[in-house]
Symmetry: C2
DNA sequence: GTGGGACATAAACATTTGTTTTAAACATTA
DNA sequence: TAATGTTTAAAACAAATGTTTATGTCCCAC
């Protein structure tokens, strides 16, 4: 086995298994046996299972943040202080997200991992991501703010997260949904196809009219 | 300990712990010790951990489907064959979702569970839910179809899931989001508040213009 | 060539997991 | 009261988990 492709094989195998079954449900023995690597190699190279999980994310998020920053730089240069339209911002983000895993043909895995990062308890993960990659999102949020000056800050905050939910939820649960869709419509949807469908929905959601100020008819709930 | 409040205590404790930490991360010993109940009681009353998980869901979904069916009955009676407007349908669904856990003051738990049901691998759960509660959603989807006759079937299918993603993702990750929001804006958002904000976004998303037929500029991805 | 660092291997370790088993307590009915 | 079915209790079980150790192997600098 050449030098340290062991590390790569562990990461390659781990990300697939994590995406398929979740973190807690994937044992180190699952990973190492499928990767044809010794069990101890994980703790040797990564230190612990937690660190392995973070390393799996870093391999996606590091290139992503770099690319996304660069893309935003370009965009700011292009508009030279002018306000960047919302569509351009969303488009740029989508492109950045798509570019990275495209290199490794594993967008599906990336999306599943993102979904898990949000839903799964795994407190350490959310902290890790927020800590290491929060700055790009802050920058993005600031640009979105300029692009949507009529939106109250709180409203924009929530809508951004609504849209994030739409995208992550859809793309991370894609396999299951695709099964249903194929059964119902026979047509096989690609990720690009889905992105194409998502775009107008996301834009419309961001530009939706403001909610009525008060007094809806819904029942109270704790 | 009176007759079989053991079962109730197990369910009450299990749903909270499941919602907080996920299924795999919650051990039976966690549940039984916190519930002050013997370990063996779980296997005695429920048979297995899997069945316990399903029972936790059933306690929410059984009343929900019943209520939702009833609400749809009312709606159909009210409109007497006329097409039910989309807003009414969405409103009715929201109301039905909110009513059930409101009785037990645990909407947050319910939403977290829903999120887990989607994201977590747990194949048995998705199958269980689809099998036992799929019919209500089918009925709902048929009504939405009548309410949005201009939408191609496939488009409507995906948009419904987009919106489902928005709602579930937001409400299930609510605690984390709420923390951020409070830090940024100091304002504490209630669930009702969030629903009020969600509504126009969801409606706008469903009514968004159709996507451009082809040829977007996004890079290819597998 | 030899010593030393980097890595691989196999075995063992201590916990924790879900599940069973055995026995005792309880309640209900005859 | 005796007998029966139901529920709780404590302990034990086998399996699986993350992690560590001890040994072996390779390769490169000296």
């Amino acid at each position: 086995m050449a030098q340290t492709d062991t590390v790569t094989r562990i990461l390659d195998t781990a990300e697939v298994l994590f995406a398929e079954r979740g973190f807690a449900e994937t044992s180190l023995r699952n990973i190492t046996s499928k990767a044809k690597v010794n069990l101890a190699a994980v703790n040797y190279h990564f230190g612990s299972k937690k660190s392995l999980i973070q390393a799996v994310f870093a391999r996606y998020l590091d290139p992503f943040t770099e690319r996304f920053h660069a893309a935003l730089d370009e965009l700011e240069a292009k508009y030279q202080g002018e306000v960047i339209p919302l569509e351009e911002l969303l488009e740029t983000m989508a492109r950045s997200v798509l570019e990275v895993p495209a290199e490794r043909n594993s967008l599906k895995v990336f999306m599943k991992l993102l979904g898990l990062a949000y839903s799964q308890a795994q407190g350490h993960l959310r902290r890790y991501i927020q800590e290491h990659y929060g700055s790009v999102f802050t920058r993005f949020a600031a640009l979105v703010r300029q692009a949507t000056p009529d939106l109250p800050d709180a409203e924009r905050f929530w809508r951004l997260h609504f849209m994030l939910g739409t995208v992550i939820f859809t793309l991370s649960g894609l396999d299951a949904l695709r099964d249903i869709a194929e059964k119902d419509y026979g047509e096989h949807v690609s990720v690009r196809e889905l992105i194409r469908r998502l775009r107008p929905v996301v834009v419309a959601g961001m530009n939706a009219p403001l909610p009525e100020p008060v007094g809806d008819a819904l029942p109270a709930a704790g």
